[in-house]
């Protein structure tokens, strides 16, 4: 696919407002910015709990489960989104069945079971792909995202899914935080720790399936894990950390899309690189502060 960017490539001025108004003039750029913002906000908030609960591997596996979802939909001739969401939720169920968190309700200590679910899902995807010939032509955008190829319908759908996910997360938020930080105490206090863990896993599955429409299944982490991890390095306070996570996520998406607009390199590269660069800077600053603190002791 030829990126629409090559046609409109032009130099960036140093005037940020002017650059933004130029970006906003192009419909594909508007869709990308709207969809990207929705995904960034959802990813930053859902991902914050993923990082806290150390379930990054489960989240990655759920993203890969989209592969059989997409190929099964192509083979059976149903809407791709039905395949995506159906398989993602089924994957969450399979992970929960194979790797029940003993008392904590988290899925961090079961990487072998999670990996097996992922391998089985990928194999199924390959089977559907070989049954349905011709799908693999699209595989690059499936894996690495179609940041600038988002349509109005897709952007609207992403905004709706993000809204629903945030409502569910707001309802779960406080008990989930309790259950994530102190599972034993929360269980003792009557919080349904395992039920919350499973509900959250399904929420992650839906969020990841939606986000991967934008970022591609391989780059979901750039908006799901990196911004919350940056925020959690900076501050340990939940409310501040959540807000910072959203700010970082949105900033990464906007700068990444802008950079992709003015260069001929893909948005996925810029978004992951900007996020990773911020993480390295934050970690270095934190290490420096810790070293200074030790010197003063």
């Amino acid at each position: 696919m030829i990126s629409p960017l090559t046609a409109v490539a032009q130099g960036a001025s140093l005037n940020l407002l002017h650059d933004l108004s130029v970006l906003w003039r192009y419909p594909f750029m508007r869709h990308a910015l709207v969809a990207g913002t929705a995904v960034a906000v959802m990813g930053a908030l859902v991902g914050w709990f993923v990082v806290l609960r150390q379930e990054a591997y489960a989240a990655h596996s759920l993203a890969m489960v989209a592969f059989p979802g997409a190929t099964a939909a192509a083979y059976l001739g149903i809407a791709p989104l039905v395949g995506y969401f159906g398989f993602a939720v089924a994957g969450a169920g399979a992970i929960a069945a194979l790797a029940p968190g003993p008392t904590t309700g988290t899925y961090r200590g079961h990487s072998a079971a999670v990996g097996s679910v992922q391998a089985a899902a990928l194999a199924l995807g390959l089977l559907f792909a070989s049954l349905y010939r011709g799908f693999l032509a699209n595989i690059t955008s499936f894996l690495f995202g179609s940041f600038l190829g988002i349509s109005v319908t897709e952007a609207t759908l992403l905004v709706i899914v993000a809204g629903v996910a945030l409502v569910v997360l707001a309802a779960l938020g406080r008990p989930l935080l309790f259950a994530s930080v102190e599972p034993a105490v929360a269980g003792g206090a009557g919080v349904p720790v395992r039920g919350l863990g499973l509900t959250f896993l399904v929420l992650v599955a839906v969020a990841v399936a939606a986000a991967s429409q934008f970022t591609g299944v391989l780059l979901v982490f750039s908006l799901l894990i990196t911004p919350p991890a940056i925020a959690q390095v900076v501050t340990a306070r939940p409310a501040r950390s959540l807000i910072l996570s959203v700010v970082v996520g949105v900033a990464v998406v906007w700068t990444g899309l802008g950079a992709a607009f003015y260069t001929d390199r893909p948005a996925g590269f810029w978004i992951t690189t900007i996020g990773f660069g911020m993480y390295v800077v934050v970690r270095a600053a934190r290490a420096g502060a810790a070293a200074r603190w030790r010197c003063r002791q």
Binding site: V51, Q54, E55, A56, Y57, A59, H60, L98, P102, R108, G109, S111, A112, A113, V114, G115, S116, Q118, A119, A120, L122, A123, L124, L126, L127, S130, L131, L136, A137, I139, T140, L143, F144, G145, L218, L219, V220, F221, S222, I225, T226, A229, D264, R265, P266, G268, F269, W270, I271, T272, T273, G275, F276, Y279
Partner: protein
């Protein structure tokens, strides 16, 4: 007796199966990959590092594409990428044992972003580029292995297995009880880096032979199955190799007989099927040896309780 054996051999396509070079190569390279993946996988599962193995298999993709984008052979990039990232993960992750999962995820996302960059360089560099090469790196092709690759696979398997057997005992100690091992003078951090480098080597080899997809099933699932069946380290290691190898060979035979089933699908189905069967076995013989080794080691207190 010989009649039965002969008809059995005919049933699995005996004369045809070994007559083609591509099936011979698949059998040899697949079997060798099963050996190194099964052995390394046992430690991967014990150390709970399946995510690292997964990340390394995707990084092989970035490495391979990077090398292709700048006109080198994909193999150079695959080995450089996986071993390089393995060492980085070892150095970063060791100090942050608590946040290891997250660090793996962040590094992994960035490396794949770089892969997207290489892909754009590679595709814009040639008129017919359509990402087909990318797909080949990602999914591999068991029936497309050349004899040159078989030789490389044999040497790398030898290197991985020897290296692993060399560090096996201290590595086991450092895995099960890192604190005590450190106090005894075992270089825990150096072992971590060395192990991840060996894992990187095994992953690079396996990705070139079977693709990232199958690699995960060969590294994680047979070892997890073996650990559900026995807690004895050596027995579990060879059991893991045995399950991986049997599944690979059976998968090749079935896929050869039924051309519409891709070999990776059959192999992964067999491996996962065996894994799921152990859950049934575990349920049936609760008092037997069907304890997963990891919880048994990590939760010493509850172990005696469960036995009693």
């Amino acid at each position: 007796m010989t009649g039965v054996a002969a008809s059995l051999l005919t049933a699995v396509g005996w004369p045809g199966l070994l007559a083609h070079e591509f099936t011979r190569n698949a059998i040899i390279a697949g079997g060798l990959t099963a050996v190194s993946a099964g052995l390394v996988g046992w430690f991967v599962v014990l150390r709970n590092q399946v995510f690292a193995a997964d990340a390394l298999s995707h990084v092989a993709f970035t490495g391979g594409l990077g090398a292709l984008a700048y006109g080198l052979g994909a193999g150079v990039g695959v080995y450089a990428g996986t071993i390089g990232l393995a060492v980085v993960l070892g150095l970063l992750g060791g100090r942050l044992a608590r946040a290891g999962d997250t660090v793996t995820g962040i590094v992994f996302a960035w490396v794949l972003g770089v892969g997207a960059y290489f892909l754009s360089v590679f595709v814009s560099g040639r008129s017919t580029g359509d990402g087909a090469a990318a797909v080949r790196v990602l999914f591999g092709s068991l029936f497309g292995i050349g004899s040159g690759q078989v030789h490389v696979t044999a040497w790398v398997t030898l290197l991985t297995v020897c290296g692993l057997l060399l560090v096996a005992r201290p590595l086991l100690f450092a895995t099960v009880d890192p604190e005590v091992a450190r106090a005894q003078g075992v270089p825990v951090q150096a072992l971590e880096v060395a192990f991840l480098a060996l894992l990187g080597l095994a992953v690079a080899q396996a990705v070139q032979v079977v693709g990232a997809l199958l690699l995960l099933a060969l590294v994680a699932t047979p070892a997890a199955t073996a650990q559900r069946l026995t807690t004895r380290p050596w027995r579990a290691m060879w059991l893991s190799v045995g399950i991986a190898m049997t599944s690979v060979w059976a998968g090749i035979v079935i896929s050869y007989l039924r051309a519409d089933l891709p070999p990776s699908f059959v192999i992964v189905s067999l491996v996962v099927g065996v894994y799921l069967t152990t859950f049934g076995v575990g349920r049936l013989s609760r008092r037997g040896r069907a304890h997963p080794v990891v919880p048994a080691v990590l939760t010493k207190g509850t172990r005696t309780e469960r036995r009693g």
